[in-house]
Amino acid sequence: MGGRESTLVLLDENGIRCDGRKIDEPRRIMIKAGGLKNADGSAYIEFGDNKILVGVFGPRDVHPKHMSRTDTGILRVRYHMEPFSVGERKNPAPSRREIEISKVIKEALLPAVILEKFPRTAVDVFIEVLQADGGTRCAALAAASVALADAGIPMRDMVAACASGKAADTIILDVNNEEDQAGQADMPIGYMPNLEKITLLQLDGVLSPEEFKKCVETGVNGCKIVYELQKKALADKYFQNGRDQ
């Protein structure tokens, strides 16, 4: 990071970004709950040009058996990018980056799920990135949370996620691929909106303390926008006549 030289104008004089958005405007987001018949719960998200499918299985038997815990259930997450999800073919074997993202998503979901009710079982979350365009970990986290709710796994709160960052010396919401490559900082945030707790916070780049504060605030505001869409996705599947009876 650190702002590489580029001919791309990340922010013009009117405060409009390279893809036509304002600085505090997220990309177009669409979330759909359900869709996979064989999974216990599933969700599909389109976050700008990201397209991600999530399937949740469980609670179910743990294999291998030694991973099971007698006091609680366990959560396992696999984040995987399809070979065709990026411009140049990606090797389908799990890369270092995918293993890291699987871990951070698992840790971002753990504070929300209540697995103590299901000792000796596992909940498996499978995330398949069909098309990637920057910010997949946030999109995947938001979709995984909807899929877990769809599967009926008890949760303290939904986990909403959105990234914020810094490009052209300005704090921006929802960093896209170009801004990620040429920008100065990228900060993915996972947030439980009702409990007001942050479950994921990463930062790639350099920010001053003031900028850091502003960046977190911006990201949390983005999470609240995502949360509304998560609510709508679940309401569309379960309460077709609107949320209130």
Partner: protein, 226 residues
């Protein structure tokens, strides 16, 4: 409808104040929060959520329908549509004079057999212990198995059994409902069997609709005329 009932998703605050948290809710500070997708209900001193999704979690005294997976020399293992397998001891079937040498377990129950059972014991540290030593329990010899979502079983039974009674009287079918979402329907009349199956699937699909009983009734009656 009572304005105390509300559709909720995980994290939604149902109410605040001195309420006792019952099923599918947690207490966070003084807020009662839903942990699942469902319909919230607030009573005078307690609050709960009726879940619309999720797997079956065994509860003592629940009637469940199980399918025999395998057996050891002392017990059977049954698939009860849960994250745990049901454990049926051989002495429960053969009686107190069961002998592991003399009695052959497959003579009573084979892999694939359906059994109506009751959860005798379940305490999270061990797999649920099930029993067939009760009236109406035991091997199921005839009937069709229908699998519905376990969370919709209360809807299929209806208030004080109204829904299931209506289906049974309209079709002359005998319906055994397992709390685990497995339902066995048997009926001498093939038309009645088809109708009963259709009604059960209808309840599973449209469980959230308000006047479902009337719709099922219409379906049962309209088919009868044609």
């Amino acid at each position: 409808m009572d304005n105390r009932r509300k559709y909720v998703i995980p994290g939604d605050v149902i109410t605040t104040g001195p309420f006792r948290p019952e099923q599918n809710v947690i207490l966070e500070g003084n807020k009662i929060i839903s942990t699942t997708i469902g319909v919230s209900e607030i009573y005078d001193d307690s609050a709960k959520v009726i879940s619309l999704t999720g797997k079956y979690l065994p509860k003592i005294n629940d009637l469940v329908i199980g399918k025999v997976i395998s057996h050891t020399s002392l017990s059977w293992e049954l698939d009860i549509n849960s994250c745990y397998v049901g454990f049926l001891p051989a002495s429960d079937v053969f009686g107190r004079d069961f002998s592991a040498h003399a009695d052959e377990l497959t003579s009573k129950l084979k892999a694939g057999d359906l059994v109506a059972t009751r959860i005798a014991n379940f305490d999270r540290t061990r797999d649920p212990l099930i029993t067939i030593a009760d009236r109406d329990l035991g091997k199921i010899d005839s009937g069709d198995l229908i699998k519905i979502s376990p969370s919709k079983v209360p809807r299929l039974i209806g208030k004080r059994g109204t829904m299931i009674q209506m289906i049974e009287t309209a079709t002359n079918a005998v319906i055994t409902i397992g709390q685990n979402g497995w339902v066995v329907v048997s009926c001498e009349n093939p038309e009645g069997l088809l109708k009963a199956k259709k009604a059960i699937q209808m309840v599973d699909e449209y469980a959230h609709v308000a006047n479902l009983t009337d719709q099922v009734k219409d379906m049962l009656e309209s088919k009868g005329e044609s």
